[in-house]
Assembly symmetry: C2
Homo-oligomer: 336 residues x 2
DNA sequence: CATGCTTGTGTGACCGGTAACAGTGTGGCT
DNA sequence: AGCCACACTGTTACCGGTCACACAAGCATG
């Protein structure tokens, strides 16, 4: 009739019940090979009976490893980052790692450094940085040298995973040119995001290579609002017949601006976006866009980082190959 | 010329340098009041000199608290959950807590139970559940009694934070009725999400109260695709002049289905969505919708949980008040 | 001047695992 | 039989903090 003690059972409790030493129990839970099957079964039975669960903090203290990954990202509520983080979390989980996320609102270097510091204090084993508008070199500068870190972005001083932000915009531009448009206008993303500038570069280079005029483009951010506001000026200009937007939100705002101005998509103006958000296929009209494989990006980050962690002595891995992006043709594009 | 030892400095190292005991150093870092300012300064100086950082694992082991919160959620890449999680993370961080996220893909109870188990093993101090399509009672059933948990959803056996999914749909429905529509059709969310069924109930009750006919509605999910597919049937029916969609993605698909069928929004059909995603104001046309305050929801979850954690002995807090949702009128609605 | 309380500090054990090393028993080999 | 290698298991210290408690000094009080 003794009440269950309020404290959770430990290694020693299991050992006592199974009639072995605590070390043997530890071995069983570490999957150490040098345990006889018979003993292992006895230990597991005892552990199950007591509902024993190893204490993560104690293990972390003893081993110096926490089985925790940190993710530093901006605007975690946006579709891109959110999808990547979801993929990271899933793969980390499957590999037995926990994931901590730090979402940063403002871009200041203090916040990056602060988030990294917090993760260090927490004792994460590795870090994945999704730097957003912090220039990658800048983000890297705040990294402690002793914490394995993978950067989602262009090649840098640490291992990186990179999405294709250059080739696909070129392809999109050439596609529009091939449809007979004299040139292609562009609505870029924020000038301080490398993703944005790469997309712009891909667009510009394709135009130059084709001998087409390179129109000016107005600066803005990733939002639909920005697409709408800049889009109104584009829509008012009868010379504009094709536009490549730096992401789908911008394209979406542009679509409305064009519609509002009385012109039609794709009859009067063709529009291409970037990302292929799930809604893109059901916009008015369904948006031709460049699909990014967010899940693959997240997965590669985790794989790279875990490979590094598995061999801490070894040289840090280089960079994974560029994850390709793919042009998806729908109904927002047509002949000039 | 001695090389810095590769091991990180500990409490004892700081103590030695400052000429005090390790316990005094511990007190300084716990902000224990019983330390003289002079000693405190000496300790802090020594700590700064060694770049000492307290080891989280050791602290967690000794105190039994990890300063970590767990969030269990479905479809973390969707705008709603992602926004809530971002808010949770921000507020937890400001209160000195880390946040771990488990994103679940499939709805099985095993995955809920599994995620909870993982968080227990990790030693989180508390849990926030965003159950999605798991019926709240079902989700609660898998919760260990000894882990403080807050549920985002309708009142249940644990403290809850609830968004308004009932009143605002009624308001939206009455608004459309007031515009002269004979009745309002509805595109519900998944039947197994309580958010969806509550919205449907709000719509239905408003219709009944107004003496309007209650049309059948086709089951579906939260996606734009589902809105489009179901929307085509609605668009083909000339009796349909007003539709309340269970979220903005559904509304977005519906918008395209209506446009494709040659009818116009809002001249021929009025559409109202739910959530007020950032893109809603720039759809074609800008969507009248119900705004949910995701940030407030996340914040309330954290506040409730932290209050509980601060007083573990005390009775668990009840539920926070219902966070209101607000009808935002744009251009997708008009007179019949 | 002894007594008591308050404030500040030090001592040792302890949290629950893991690492290193030291046994013990069994079998094969000469 | 005697020896050794090998497989398995136990002993002890240790990770880096915190806790409970003992202790020293300073000051007011009787």
């Amino acid at each position: 009739m003794t009440a269950t003690p309020p404290t959770r059972p430990g290694l020693r409790d299991v050992a006592r019940l199974a009639g072995v030493s605590h070390q043997t129990v530890s071995r069983v839970f570490k999957n150490h090979p040098m345990v006889s099957p018979k003993t292992r079964d006895r230990v597991l039975a005892a552990a199950a009976q007591l509902d024993f669960r190893p204490n993560a903090a104690a293990r972390a203290l003893a081993t110096g490893r926490s089985s925790t990954l940190g993710v530093v990202s901006f605007d975690t509520a946006l579709h891109g980052p959110a999808s990547i983080i979801a993929a990271i979390e899933r793969h980390a989980r499957e590999a037995g790692f926990f994931t901590g996320v730090a979402g940063l609102e403002s871009a200041g270097r203090d916040t990056v450094a602060g988030a990294v510091e917090r993760f260090r204090d927490q004792g994460v084993d590795g870090l994945i940085m999704i730097p957003g508008h912090v220039p990658p070199e800048e983000a890297v500068r705040h990294l402690p040298g002793d914490l394995p870190t993978v950067l989602l972005g262009p090649p840098a001083a640490v291992p990186t995973v990179e999405a294709d932000h250059y080739r696909a915009p070129g392809e999109a531009t050439r596609y529009l040119l091939g449809l007979g448009h004299r040139t292609v206008h562009h609505l870029p993303g924020p000038a301080d995001w490398s993703e944005a500038t790469e997309r712009t570069r891909g667009w510009r280079d394709a135009l130059v290579a084709a001998g087409a005029e390179v129109p000016d483009c107005a600066p803005g951010d990733w939002s639909a609002r920005s697409g709408y506001e800049r889009g109104r000026r584009l829509a008012a200009d009868p010379d504009v017949t094709a536009v490549f937007a730096a992401n789908d939100q911008i394209a979406l705002g542009l679509l409305w601006a064009i519609h509002e101005s009385g012109r039609r998509v794709p009859e009067d103006v063709s529009v291409i976006g970037f990302d292929d958000i799930p809604e893109a296929a059901f916009l008015t009209p369904p948006l031709t866009t460049v699909r990014q494989d967010f899940a693959a990006l997240g997965r590669h980050c985790v794989e790279l980082l875990l490979a590094w962690l598995a061999d801490p002595g070894g040289a840090p891995p280089g960079r994974a190959g560029v994850v390709p992006s793919e042009l998806v043709i729908r109904r927002s594009t047509g002949p000039a």
